[in-house]
């Protein structure tokens, strides 16, 4: 199969990668770039564990082909903390124990960050709708919602 040479920006770094046409962006991130923070839960768009942003647009990376992302700006969970300094959402997820097994957490954090960028002071209902594309089998969502609402308060200060 012919591989395509893709140049793109990932978490602020210019990268080059060879991808096969059928490879999803998720597989490119995990298998070619060894960025395994982004998780696969379903590969069919249902769980949101693979959430990333492309040019600021929140998407499921399992439903994007790697060949589509040349010249784009991709943000994954690996770009969320600033060195050792966690993002307020990450801090609040820990503080509120908004995770158990953790497989949904990278996707939830990316979706929550995107939500707060668009709506810095959401209501509880807006948080629940904003995260409706992210499934979690462990937490029951309550602690996740509390963590996001708390982070929103901190981030507005």
């Amino acid at each position: 199969m012919t591989k395509h040479h893709i140049q793109t920006t990932l978490n602020g770094d210019e990268i080059d990668v060879l991808v096969e046409p059928a490879q999803s962006l998720l597989d490119v991130l995990r298998d070619e770039l060894h960025m395994t923070g982004t998780k696969e839960g379903c590969a069919t768009g249902d769980c949101g564990a693979c959430s990333v942003t492309i040019d600021g647009n929140l998407v499921c990376s399992c439903l994007v082909l790697g060949v589509e992302v040349g010249g784009r700006n991709i943000e994954t969970i690996e770009g969320m903390a600033n060195g050792d300094q966690l993002h307020p959402l990450q801090d609040k997820f820990i503080e509120h124990v908004a995770l158990q097994c953790g497989i949904c957490t990278p996707g939830l954090l990316i979706a929550a960050k995107h939500l707060l960028e668009e709506n810095p002071d959401p209501t509880e209902e807006e948080v629940r709708y904003g995260l409706a594309g992210n499934l979690c089998r462990c937490t029951g969502y309550q602690k996740v919602v509390e963590a996001v609402l708390d982070a929103a308060q901190v981030m507005q200060k």
Binding site: S24, T44, N57, L63, V64, L65, A132, G133
Partner: protein
């Protein structure tokens, strides 16, 4: 998919030529929320993917006189961010907003929702109710097809394999017009319609209905335009009697299947209820839209 080729042409002519030249299975790629799922689940094994998102005609939203034209590959998210379009066609946007999650709408297009040809596609009934016309292009030229004529069966359209939907034209809206779409699902988000109903209507200065279109989803092998249901509204003040007649006509048009989401009997009943509720919302919106 060992020999899958990916092309992202920048012109309509290149796109249709690529599709026409492919002997194996070719698929147009818009947002990929159906195509890539089907590839992952081995339902399809395409030889060629033609990504149409680099073609300007498929990604623009523009006014043509008083009418709106938007590209078939415009994502739901992009439509949601277009304030005037949302104000003009709130019912179309009811349907778009119901597609999947934020992540799905970040990619999913109305063109893909239509061409995937699911009887339960949420943006299709309000587009039919709106009187939207698809502009289609192929190697032998362009044609305009009303949206209700595109889907011919589950997963089947009237398009030739080398044709693509370029854009949709939604007619200029007279004053006192309103539209709405409702679907019934067990969950509020991320579920497939058990039944969907879209209503678009226009009132005169006295509040009498001068024009209406009603469309249903998930109650037949294709989305349905139900002329009898619209006739029940036209000439009335969309009062209780008219709404009852609308509900009866909507139920009578159904030809559904039994499945885990709902029985035949249930779908027929809910189609009437939803059509009636959608009409009430469309009426209220028309009243506000002087």
């Amino acid at each position: 998919m060992q020999n899958l080729r990916y092309e992202a042409p920048e012109t309509l002519a290149d796109a249709t030529a690529l599709l026409a030249a492919e002997d194996g299975m070719a698929r147009v790629l818009a947002g990929g929320t159906d195509v890539i799922v089907q590839m992952h689940s081995d339902l399809i094994e395409p030889d060629l993917i033609v990504d149409v998102k680099n073609i300007p005609e498929l990604t623009e939203i523009a006014k043509e006189g008083g009418a709106y034209r938007f590209g078939a590959a415009v994502s739901g998210k992009t439509l949601m961010l277009h304030e005037d379009f949302n104000k003009t066609w709130p019912g179309v946007m009811d349907g778009v907003r119901l597609i999947g999650s934020l992540q799905i709408r970040g990619r999913a297009s109305v063109g893909g929702n239509l061409c995937n040809a699911s009887p339960a596609a949420d943006s299709v009934p309000p587009m039919i109710a709106a009187g939207a016309v698809a502009s289609v292009i192929g190697p032998n030229g362009a044609r305009d097809i009303p949206v209700e004529d595109i889907v011919t069966g589950p997963g089947q359209t009237c398009l030739d394999k080398s044709e693509i939907v370029v854009s949709f034209l939604l007619p200029e809206r007279p004053p006192r017009s309103g539209d709405a779409y409702l679907r019934f699902t067990p969950r509020t988000e991320m579920d497939i319609a058990v039944v969907g109903a879209g209503v678009n209507l226009t009132l005169d200065d006295d509040g009498a209905c001068t024009a209406a279109r009603v469309a249903l989803a998930a109650v037949a092998p294709t989305p349905l335009l139900v002329a009898e249901a619209a006739d029940a509204l036209i000439g009335t003040k969309v009062d209780e009697t008219a709404l009852e007649a609308l509900a009866a006509a909507a139920s009578a048009a159904c030809n559904p299947i039994d499945d885990k989401r709902g029985t035949v009997e249930y779908r027929i009943k809910v189609a009437g209820v939803l059509a009636r509720r959608a009409a009430a919302i469309a009426l209220e919106r028309a009243g506000k839209n002087q």
